[in-house]
Symmetry: C2
């Protein structure tokens, strides 16, 4: 298991509680030595899973000390009973660690609409509390995997003024996944010192430019959640709002989240390619984002990537139906450095060979220049493959 040099003052534990039924680890616990300042971003799906209903108001109060997360069952569409289970889970953690329940966040990922039993939690949570250790962050990242083929971990060290701090992110994903093992989860721990208000202000844009800028299949889960904890254990002074240090923290946070987001796309079901859809020359960011999203979620564009087909017609068609104003006769399209369309027109057969060579790579960038302004936005997407259909069709068979 990967050795992680984690932020100070956090401990981790994971176990196989039996929720998954296949003997794999399915329950993880993250604990800060002291109550941490916190922020969260939650799913925009109107159907909200039970753990989010418990956790969201707690995070909104700005303090969190423990996160309990299970895979194997999403505890979504489970009604009052599901809410009671989620609440009881946090009570179990509170009891085991002698904390108030209000400082415990709970998260789940797995099948939607199946009752979640409290029994595995009753059997496992106390032991998790005992097993907590600074070295086990990677074990938590593994315990939250569903169809993920590898654990997603990103960390970096930041040199602050007179001291250094760390940011560690653990994630799973992507999109809605077999068998409804939906859900993008992200947990980010830092030992820098910031307030909950600051964290919330910085987390939202960082999530927008990372987890909210990826598309594997365009679906959004009932359980998506990103939590950010800052416990100040690195020492050093509090990072001031509006300071250069805060800007530095925001940038590094963005790096960690984008790193995790790209891992999620690369590990998308059946994916063989990672493509950045970069819209530049936009009138405003909203326009650029909307277009990038339309292209990144087009089944035909994603299938063409799989076929390594430099099919710019599908791209400009997706630009056209994005539903925002464009001037088609101004649009340039490039595959990496190869311009395939200029001013909305095909450049010519000479681009076919170099453009196809770009698509044969496992990572490439499609640039769409609107020539309408200075705004830009990127979306990261995968190809749509036979394996996507196989993985998602085979459930229960």
């Amino acid at each position: 298991m990967e050795k992680i040099i984690a932020p100070k003052g956090y401990r981790y534990a994971a176990t196989a509680s039996g929720i998954k039924g296949d003997g794999k680890t399915d329950l993880g616990l993250i604990v800060s030595d002291i109550p941490a300042q916190c922020a969260g971003v939650f799913t925009r799906n109107r159907v909200v899973a039970a753990p989010l209903q418990i956790t969201r108001p707690r995070i909104a109060r700005g303090k969190c000390q423990a996160i309990l997360v299970n895979s194997g069952n999403a505890n979504a569409c489970t009604g009052e009973a599901g809410l009671r289970v989620a609440e009881s889970c946090s009570d179990l953690v509170a009891e085991a660690l002698a904390l108030p329940s209000e400082l415990v966040a709970v998260a789940s990922t797995g099948v939607i609409g199946q009752p979640l039993s409290l029994a595995p939690f009753q059997a496992a949570v106390f032991g998790l509390g005992v097993a907590l250790d600074e070295q086990h962050a990677a074990a938590v990242a593994e315990a939250i995997m569903t169809t993920d083929s590898y654990a997603k971990i990103s960390e970096l060290k930041v040199e602050g003024v007179g001291y250094s701090y760390r940011i560690l992110g653990l994630a799973k994903g992507a999109g809605m996944i077999h068998p409804n093992m939906a859900t993008m989860l992200g947990f980010v721990m830092t030992d820098a010192k910031l307030t909950a208000t600051q964290l919330q202000r910085l987390l939202k844009p960082a999530v927008d430019n990372s987890f909210n800028s990826i598309s594997v299949d365009g679906d959004t889960s009932t359980n998506d959640m990103v939590l950010l904890l800052a416990n100040g254990a690195a020492g050093g002074v509090e990072i001031e709002p509006g300071s250069q240090e805060e800007e530095q923290f925001a940038k590094k946070l963005q790096v960690v989240l984008l790193d995790l987001a790209k891992m999620i796309v690369r590990d998308g079901e059946g994916a063989t390619k990672l493509a950045e859809i970069k819209v530049i020359g936009g009138q405003n960011v909203q326009q650029a984002r909307t277009i990038a999203r339309a292209v990144a979620t087009s089944s035909l564009v994603k299938t063409a990537f799989f076929g390594e087909d430099a099919n710019w017609g599908r791209i400009i068609a997706a630009v056209g139906y994005a539903g925002v104003e464009i001037e088609p006769e101004k649009i340039d399209i490039l595959f990496d450095e190869v311009m395939v369309a200029r001013g909305g027109l095909y450049v010519g057969t000479q681009i076919e060979k170099p453009a196809t060579a770009v698509l044969k790579q496992s990572e490439f960038c499609v640039t769409i220049d609107l020539h309408q302004g200075d705004s830009f936005a990127s979306y990261f997407t995968s190809d749509l493959t036979f394996d996507y259909v196989r993985i998602n069709a085979d459930y229960r068979s």
Copy 2:
């Protein structure tokens, strides 16, 4: 070739002009004996192909006598040169039939972004004019096929007061298709007597509830076009606005268009199943439509249909991310008559067998009851299969 009893006063011809390059028919001509009243609905894509730019303003003037349609090349993203070719095509028809060019509509379907040569049209159009015949409607339906596996034709006879008239629809589709053989095209001819204003008023809702309520892959083409011609050749009086006769015409028009739309879904690339996504109990039609569309275009829902997996969690998740207000705890979901979720909760394992049996059929209905009001809307969709990926990835290989 199917024998069609067509509306009176229309003649048809089709030929292999060489645009397709594989020797298949690729050019069709539809001509009314007298200038017909007409209406049209065109793509909402911001990228609009050349033939639409020529045809749309002509149809808006309310009179049309001839429609020239080619497959094999969409004449889209072809700039000024493409516009000149589209205009020249209509001039060739006008010359061959001694009509003003303003009465000629042109339509194209095929590859986007490739220059369209005028030469095949110069060679073929005069001959098409000579070959015109009342019996050849099916040949036109075949000439506009791209990846369609069969020609799409629907016709019916309506008993008017003291006379009868007919409605004949020809279509191709669906969605954006290999190799960019995009485009939903529909041409509807009737020998009933109505004004262009009436036709336009009646065509829009009929298209909304048919061609605009199907989803094969969610993409919208640069070339989509539905034209409706009425030449009054059946005799009988003009159908009065607001009359029972007009209502009857609207209903029958809807039947023809929905029939064609379902054929398009059934023939969707790789499709093996036709599913109606029916949202009932909505607050308003817009809400019901938005939700039906989100479910019908979800890759995960469509893949689950292919896998015959009664995966209602994916359906309620799509309902949740549709972006409109819902009350999840009120929602019922049925597969045909089998209720799988009641009040947002799983009914229980006893539904698995009968629900799976529903999905094993080639056609079924998923009903989503929002229990918020009386509005409803339907969307028709196909499953997402290995063959969809194969067909759409293999282009140029």
